[in-house]
């Protein structure tokens, strides 16, 4: 079967499933929400799934991987399929957070523990948030993540039903992070999981969210997540994405950020396990004095594939973006980094920096790095660069000459290499958790 006919079959499969999905919605298909879904499905029909000719997905054969007949889980909508005992084992110990558990994209009230005493903070399931305040949610939903451009954003929007909703009023410093455990339950079947998250942070407010993508069981899963994050004036937001899915998990994530005056966005994206991962992180700086820091770390092994695609759009003057992605690739793994920076004609005095550094541990591992700058303004400071190399033999020899064993010396150097991509991780317990997982991997 050629890739093209495969992608058409898959596409038709998704379109047919949409009809089943509409039926499962049972009478709720007349709302504005559903009109947006229909528009997104139309857009998806037009875009189709990416094939080898699709520039944006050229190095990531996602469509080929999806040829596993993923189904949407309508029957058990909202009913957790996993026990509390199982979920408890997945939680990050000692992390004081608002814990949200999504099972196959559905918010589980039973398994989440969100006990809010702070006024001006709302954290709940996306579904009920929309039902309770359709005007408010409708103002933001699908207004930032553009379903006319990306087929996976279109697909997620068409099937969007549930996920995490977070709204921080003006002048609120949220007391603890929001921790989202997005669990794909692949014990029973090949589910396609499509969580939809919306975060709105008001003026002068501060908050953070951790999205942890996990899968259980051995069947293949396809997670197609979309998070929209909207930051008002002088808002400060930390975003963490941890990817720790199973060997049979496929992940596409679109995180769309919109910033206005003097707001700060810090992102740390860490890809540890999972078969195929594609992260699209898009930040629009639509005002002056915005700051966006985007760090990423990927540790790959075996046949893993991770593709990080970032877009920073400097639309107005005097803003700063800073990007650092680091990768350690072993086995026959493959990585892609594609970072685009746009500086619009009137975005003078923009500072935009981007760096991608990789260490290849084997001859079979490979990375495609493509930094792209498109600058239409003339008074800017921009830089970009990509490096790929091996472990430094001189450094290795130096450590060994002091009695440190080969394996330990390699781990020390790789850990040191990885660390500066983690400097924006400010939550101590989270940092220890990540450290532990990185060290376990590096000592393998």
């Amino acid at each position: 079967m050629s890739l093209t006919s495969n992608s058409i079959d898959l596409k038709q499969g998704f379109i047919r499933q949409f009809e089943l999905f509409e039926k499962a919605l049972n009478g709720k298909s007349l709302t504005d929400f559903h009109q947006t879904r229909k528009k997104a499905l139309k857009a998806f029909e037009g875009l189709g799934l990416p094939d080898r000719k699709t520039e944006n997905y050229k190095y990531t054969p996602i469509t080929r991987s999806l040829n596993k007949k993923f189904r949407f889980d309508y029957e058990s909508l909202g009913k957790p399929t996993i026990s509390k005992e199982v979920v408890d084992k997945l939680l990050i110990k000692d992390l004081d957070a608002y814990n949200i558990v999504l099972i196959n994209g559905q918010y589980s009230k039973e398994l989440s523990s969100v006990d809010i005493e702070l006024s001006g903070l709302e954290i709940r399931d996306f579904k009920s948030a929309y039902e309770a305040q359709p005007d408010l949610v409708g103002t933001y939903f699908a207004k930032y993540a553009n379903f006319n451009e990306d087929p996976f954003t279109a697909l997620n929007t068409a099937f969007s039903l549930d996920g995490t909703f977070m709204k921080v009023a003006d002048n609120v410093v949220v007391d603890k992070p929001v921790m989202v455990y997005a669990i794909a339950d692949a014990n029973a079947a090949n589910w396609a999981v499509q969580p939809r998250n919306l975060v709105i942070v008001g003026k002068n407010s501060q908050a953070s969210i951790i999205e942890n993508y996990i899968s259980l069981g051995n069947e293949p899963t396809f997670t197609n997540a979309v998070s929209e994050i909207v930051l008002d004036e002088n808002a400060y937001f930390d975003y963490y994405k941890l990817e720790m899915q199973g060997e049979n998990a496929y992940h596409v994530g679109n995180t769309q950020v919109y910033q206005v005056r003097s707001s700060t966005f810090n992102a740390t994206t860490i890809s540890l396990t999972g078969s195929l991962i594609r992260n699209n992180l898009n930040v629009v700086l639509d005002d002056e004095h915005c700051e966006a820091n985007m760090n990423g770390l990927y540790l790959l092994d075996d046949h893993q594939h991770v593709d990080n695609q970032t877009v920073v759009d400097h639309k107005k003057p005097n803003s700063l973006s800073n990007e650092l992605y680091k990768g350690i690739l072993g086995g026959s793994s493959t990585g892609v980094f594609n970072g685009r920076i746009y500086v619009r004609p009137n975005a003078q005095k923009t500072n935009a920096f981007q760096s991608n550094k990789n260490i290849l541990l084997t001859d079979e591992a490979s990375i495609n790095a493509k930094p792209q700058l498109e600058i239409w303004a003339d008074d800017v400071k921009c830089s970009h660069g990509a490096t790929t190399g091996q472990l430094d033999e001189e450094q290795l020899f130096y450590l060994r000459s002091r009695g440190i064993g080969q394996q330990e010396a390699r781990s020390l150097l790789l850990y040191a290499f990885a660390m500066d991509a983690l400097e924006k991780v400010k939550i101590d317990v989270l940092r220890e958790y990540i450290d532990h997982h990185i060290n376990t991997r590096l000592n393998k």
């Binding site: 020899f397 130096y398 002091r402 009695g403 440190i404 150097l413 040191a416 290499f417 500066d420």
Partner: protein, 251 residues
């Protein structure tokens, strides 16, 4: 302690060491001098286990073990230490963490318990005074952004921490001002005992005013062409290396 017999080593088919013979006993200080390109640093590197060199002939016995068959880290754990001519900068690895790892791996190899944090820190403090190294240097990444003198001092500090049986100082004097040189030499002298030995590799006689050798060897064109007492160093200082180039090998 160390017995080198007819050692030949090449890099990329070019022979650098052409039959070195050298015996070093506990309690001795040996200086190896010679012009640039004579093979001094190659000898130091080969002894420490650098893999760029191919050993084509000869043997090296270190404390009854076949040194050449040992991995670099094993040599260190057995008590060999090389102070690098150009210490490597390692961003992201703190000096403290590095030394703790090294020390505890050596202790583990010798069947000793790892040092706890308190004992390790008090040991650090003691040795820091010895080489007058600033505490702030050690909280930074290993050698990163250190001046030449700071790097050399850090080498001697590491030596003090690891307490080797045989220390090889590879051009530790190069690039040092006289004050730094005195500090480094003082550190080396303080660590000297009847149970350990030192090989000082240098181009200049200056360092030997402060670290007084029992024996001086002149290396030229991959061979030791002359050996003598510390007076040989003075003779070299006076006459330069040219007269040595005509001399016959002593071995």
């Amino acid at each position: 302690m160390l017995s080198i017999k007819n050692l030949h080593a090449s890099i990329e088919d070019k022979e650098i060491l052409k039959g070195i013979n050298l015996d070093v006993k506990a309690g001795e200080v040996h200086a190896i001098m010679g012009p640039n390109g004579s093979g001094k640093s190659t000898l130091a590197s080969v002894l420490a286990g650098r893999e760029d060199y191919e050993i084509t002939q000869g043997s090296v016995d270190f404390l009854g073990n076949d040194l050449l068959s040992m991995e670099t880290e094993e040599r260190a754990r057995e008590g060999l230490f090389l102070a690098f001519q150009y210490p490597v900068e390692i961003p992201g690895v703190s000096s403290t963490n590095f030394l703790k790892t090294a020390l505890n791996q050596i202790r583990e190899y010798r069947g000793q318990e790892p040092l706890d944090a308190v004992s390790f820190l008090s040991l650090m403090k003691e040795k820091m005074n010895l080489v007058e190294i600033d505490k702030s240097l050690l909280s930074r990444s290993l050698n990163e952004g250190f001046s030449g003198g700071e790097k050399k001092r850090n080498e001697v500090f590491q030596m003090a921490m690891l307490e080797p049986k045989l220390a090889i100082l590879d051009e530790t004097d190069s690039g040092l001002d006289i004050d730094a040189l005195k500090i480094v030499a003082n550190g080396v002298n303080t660590l000297k005992s009847k149970d350990n030995a030192t090989i000082v590799v240098t181009h200049y006689q200056r360092l030997l005013e402060y670290i007084v050798p029992d024996f001086v060897h002149v290396l030229y064109n991959g061979k030791i062409v002359k050996s003598g007492s510390k007076d040989l160093a003075l003779e070299l200082e006076e006459k330069g290396y040219d007269w040595i180039k005509e001399a016959e090998p002593t071995h």
